[in-house]
Symmetry: C2
Subunit: 230 residues, 2 copies
């Protein structure tokens, strides 16, 4: 699969995620019309991502956000109860979206090598399509309270465990070498993470996400595959 193909599927979901934001938080917000809420949540989130990328969530003031969205302070506060809650909403909704996409693209009946390739690619492609969410989740996780932070950490763990399961399955089938699969999974995650943490670097060098995915796969396979497979 190439990125453009993946992107088409993702784009077909449309503003799904902002509708979800509206519905999940309906009790806490004072806006009643879905259409207005969805439109403005999208505007607010985009502004948060943009400002936060420059200076971080703590340093972003509500006045910054007001300026960037062209909404007044009073208006903003009808969409969420506090700045802290806004942070929690973004995290919660991002996590939910990411989980859903992974679920949708995972096929546990494929042969291990194919699963490995697919999982690595989907993660990279999704982090490309939703880079602001990934970047935000990583950089601002420490601003969350203990409960929400744990949700983030357990997501990190579960995507890693998915990789471990695939590597173990492949080892049992004699396709992958016998290695410390947990450590291999960590390293694969580190490579995936670099894509969205250092996007500016890869962009400057004109490396596409397809190039990068190919390289990560080459790296991983040369290490994991049994010699007879090469």
């Amino acid at each position: 699969m190439k990125y453009t193909e993946f992107k088409k599927i993702i784009d077909s979901f449309g503003s799904e995620i902002y509708r979800e934001v509206f519905q999940e938080n309906q009790e806490n917000i004072r806006i009643k019309k879905e259409k207005t809420a969805v439109k403005n949540f999208e505007k607010i989130f985009d502004a948060v991502f943009q400002i936060t990328y420059e200076k971080g969530f703590q340093a972003m003031t509500m006045r910054d956000l007001s300026r960037c969205t062209n909404m007044s302070l009073g208006s903003l506060y009808t969409y969420f109860a506090s700045k802290e809650e806004l942070l929690a909403i973004i995290h919660r909704q991002g996590a939910s979206m990411i989980r859903n996409v992974f679920e949708k693209f995972h096929n546990p009946d494929d042969p291990p090598l194919e699963q490995l390739r697919s999982v690595i690619k989907v993660h990279l492609f999704l982090s490309e399509a939703s880079r602001p969410w990934f970047y935000f989740t990583f950089m601002e996780a420490k601003n969350l309270n203990a409960e929400h932070r744990n949700t983030v950490l357990s997501m990190e763990e579960s995507t890693e465990n998915r990789l471990v399961a695939i590597l173990e399955q492949g080892e049992r089938q004699g396709i992958f070498r016998r290695l410390n699969h947990q450590l291999t999974a960590s390293i694969i995650k580190a490579m995936q993470q670099d894509w969205y943490l250092k996007r500016w670097k890869y962009k400057k060098r004109k490396i596409s996400v397809d190039d990068y995915a190919g390289y990560v796969l080459g790296f991983t396979e040369s290490f994991c595959l049994n010699e007879k497979q090469l």
Copy 2:
């Protein structure tokens, strides 16, 4: 080389870095006695790293810092002119220290494979010995002004270029495969970075820095080495 061996050398430098902080900023600070200054800078920096690890530099208040160092607000401000300057001092001094250590351990006359191993290890070992500095530099770089931020980025680039040079040298000697060395270097950096960004994870799993270094080397060598070398 093992980590304990490296650590012994590093420890022998003692409070060198805090003496440097004092000397480089002597004009801007109101403290005159080196011994007092060095002692308190160490206390201040440690507190900053500790608080910042929990909630980030922006969220750290001067009152937090006062509490954590057992120094009064007034006292703190005799060591630096503003909170922003404190940030800049930490960054500048950290960068200088890191550069010095890399210089000291790099030997461009060794054979490429040995250089590669040594550069990867030294980076990992140093990030282990000075984890707070590395973590801080990465996470708080965006709070710097444009000029200081560029310094950080150019450091990132120069350590990467050092790797590229080694890989090219090895390719010319027929030891390494012909690959996109820049991308390989990026990926090696990503693996190194994961060590200090996710320290909690590796600690929980009882992976030592020597274990991790060995794994990164294995991963890298299986990808880069020409087959006849394996």
